[in-house]
Amino acid sequence: MQKKISKIPFKGTAEQEEKLKAVIAECKGDKSKLMHVMQQAQGIYGYLPYEVQVMIAEGMDVPLEKVYGVSTFYAQFSLSPKGAYNISVCLGTACYVKGSQKILDKVCEELGVQPGECSSDGMFSVEACRCIGACGLAPVFTVNDEVYGKVTPEEIPGILAKYRNG
């Protein structure tokens, strides 16, 4: 699937920028360290938006398109920020046969986003993941560190409301 590019405005802080600049300064002149810089940048910002990729491109003297090409090739890089609550729906085999696709669809429908995206208020992000080792609870999803097992699509609005109002 094509990577989703977030439309949420970039809210990077001066502190984050300083950290990224320090990483770039260490790796400058060695273009083979591009991946490393991108990993660090994702660690700092949680994702790799346009503004961050431009900083990397200019700092590493690599065309922006090359940075973007790498960021869309590897699954580990995200172009969307993580929400305050990151919902991760397991699409591993056991969960899938127990109907977790319907869970994912319902979550996305409720939040008005696609998998890989973040809601415009920055509150929820949704992603599909592979087996998290809780097959006995299938279908399963997590909200940050909390695990929800044996859920049905009907229960989703209630669970989300808990976080919205919390």
């Binding site: 094509q2 590019i5 065309p63 090409g69 090739f73």
Partner: protein
């Protein structure tokens, strides 16, 4: 280097060690089809069309990148090879927008030709998911239709390796892989320089120039418009290819005849305004050289180069010559001097430019320094390919046309003007005029050729002693070469007084708007050299070979422009540039 002996389809052949299977086959007189391979530009062995069987090898090998070794036995036409190529083609077609009847590249598409050659009977053999993309028509010079893209990456290699621009690349992965710009921005919002080298590299109809022929037909059919046309130097040595002429044919006379039959009111020669450019630029060089100001001066004829400078080397903008390009100068004098002379309101004059170049379409849309306020200097720019399309559409039998000649008062061009189309040509033309201006001596036929700046090498250097001055010059074509030269100038490694830069490798003869030659030709013939040789033949055959001796040039200065660098020349023939941000 030592040679190795190999057998291709049973034919024994000896080739230099390190040759590829493809090269060995060629040496044995065997052609292997290619699709992603483009000599010296894209050598990635990705498309699997050029597969061949090598005795003892585990699987079929990609002949474009597989090196030969002693005693190797290669088969290029076994049933296994043919079946593999056929399957590759069928799979490519399974995700290809098959609108061949209306495709701009129909008849000149490398994919289409291979499908015919390999007898693909069912273009829909594998029906399944297809990728869907909107056509990007944002840029003023071209469009991209990813649904016709076969992901060969020839365009990507042209953009990054040849031009050092890198605004397009392969993004996402697997079935979703597609060619686009960072963050899926429309091409117009990137630092694309509009050179069109991606278009001439594309084997299919995925990339093409913006077609402006309809706009020109409309003007030709409008009785209130006085429609004039100018043809760039390099069109006359390339247009013939569109009509089956041998590469390097000079078709000036037929081209003029065809334009007249298309209905243009006047057919003029950009060689004239190339001479005008030399008058202004040689003068500008002498001024700057004398004052030691803003040196090296860098030529400004190539709009792809200008845009590159604005994006990638904005700090070098003061070094650019302020001269408009020959295209721009032509438009400027057409809407001022010519309008007055003919008693026509400039608003009713419609100027069409036939150019080897897609960036000229972008240049024509720069409206900051036009000769007549509120009017564009140039109303429409057509590439060589679009002109050929118009001629074919009108049923003009190009090859049967009698030779015709350009109209006055912009019909005479010197040999110096004609060589503008080849890398080093502007430099040579300027040197011819600067030499005579500075020394007050005549360059005779034995000394008129400046051979050091000729040839297809990416970077050329020379030093000339003119009137006691050591003048250091450099010529670069292809923007990756330009980048090298500019970096050396910036870090003080090299000192030059005068630099010519052309965006396209080999200059305008190899421009992004020129007839598209398939990889099967480009891999074996240096089209830059063949077309350029025709321009130098043309130069040699012309009665006037120096810009300042062109009678039409003398006349326009006497009647209107006064002298090079005059106030009025500055008003209408010179321009300005803007620093642009890459991101």
């Amino acid at each position: 280097m030592s040679n190795v002996n190999v057998k291709v389809n049973g034919i024994e052949v000896s080739v230099p060690a390190g040759s590829t299977v493809l090269q060995a086959a060629r040496a044995a007189g065997v052609e292997i089809p290619t699709l992603c391979y483009l000599k010296e530009i894209n050598e990635i062995g990705a498309c699997r069309i050029c597969v061949a069987e090598v005795k003892g090898a585990r699987s079929l090998v990609a002949s474009c990148v597989y090196p030969v070794n002693e005693g190797m036995e290669i088969s290029t036409n076994t049933p296994k090879v043919i079946e593999s190529r056929k399957t590759t083609l069928e799979l490519l077609l399974s995700n290809h927008k098959k609108e061949c009847l209306s495709c701009v590249r129909s008849g000149n598409c490398e994919l289409q030709k291979l499908c015919t050659d390999y007898g693909i009977e069912d273009a829909h053999k594998y029906s399944g998911a297809m990728t869907h993309y909107a056509i990007d028509r944002s840029a003023s010079h071209m469009y991209r239709d990813n649904e016709k893209c076969i992901l060969c990456r020839r365009c990507v290699a042209a953009c990054s390796n040849v031009q050092a621009v890198s605004v397009i690349g392969a993004n996402d992965r697997g079935f979703d892989t597609h060619i686009s710009s960072a963050f899926e921005k429309p091409l117009a919002e990137t630092s694309c320089v509009s050179c069109g080298q991606c278009i001439v590299a594309c084997p299919t109809g995925a990339l093409s120039e913006r077609d402006d022929t309809a706009k020109v037909f409309e003007a030709l059919n409008d009785p209130t418009k006085h429609v004039v046309v100018q043809t760039a130097p390099s069109i006359r040595v390339a247009l013939g290819e569109e009509f089956g002429c041998e590469m390097g044919s000079i078709v000036t006379g037929k081209m003029v005849a065809a334009l007249r039959r298309l209905g243009f009111d006047k057919v003029f020669d950009t060689n004239f305004s190339a001479d005008l450019t030399i008058m202004e630029e040689a003068n500008e060089f002498i001024q700057r050289y004398t004052k030691k100001e803003n040196l090296p001066i860098i030529t400004s004829c190539s709009p792809g180069w200008i845009k590159y400078c604005e994006y990638y080397f904005p700090e070098m903008i003061p070094n650019l010559s302020t001269c408009k390009s020959p295209q721009g100068m032509f438009g400027s004098v057409a809407k001022t001097y010519y309008a007055q002379k003919m008693g026509i309101d400039p608003k009713d004059i419609y100027v069409v430019a036939i150019m080897p170049c897609t960036a000229k379409k972008f240049e024509a849309e720069r409206l900051d320094h036009t000769a007549v306020k509120g009017l564009a200097d140039i109303d429409a720019v057509l590439t060589t390919r679009e002109l050929a399309r118009m001629i074919k559409k009108e049923g003009i039998l190009f090859n049967l046309l009698p030779d015709d000649t350009f109209d006055a008062p912009f019909g005479l061009g010197s040999g110096a003007g004609t060589i503008f189309g080849a890398t080093g040509g502007v430099m040579e033309a300027a040197l011819r005029t600067a030499y005579e201006t500075l020394t007050k001596e005549n360059l005779d036929d034995l000394h008129i050729d400046f051979n050091d700046v000729r040839g297809t090498e990416g970077v050329k250097e020379a030093t000339y002693n003119i009137a006691g001055n050591e003048i250091h010059v450099a010529v670069a074509s292809g923007l990756a070469n330009a980048e090298k030269v500019l970096k050396m100038v910036k870090n003080g490694e090299k000192h030059y007084d005068f630099i010519e830069i052309m965006a396209c490798p080999g200059g305008c003869v190899n421009g992004g708007g020129q007839p598209i030659q398939p990889a099967s030709v480009r891999n074996n013939v240096d089209i830059r050299a063949v077309r350029a040789a025709a321009l130098y033949r043309d130069d040699k055959s012309l009665p006037v070979r120096k810009s300042h001796e062109n009678p039409d040039i003398k006349q326009i200065y006497a009647e209107y422009l006064e002298k090079p660098g005059s106030h009025i020349a500055h008003e209408i023939l010179h321009t300005g540039y803007i620093a642009r941000k890459k991101y």
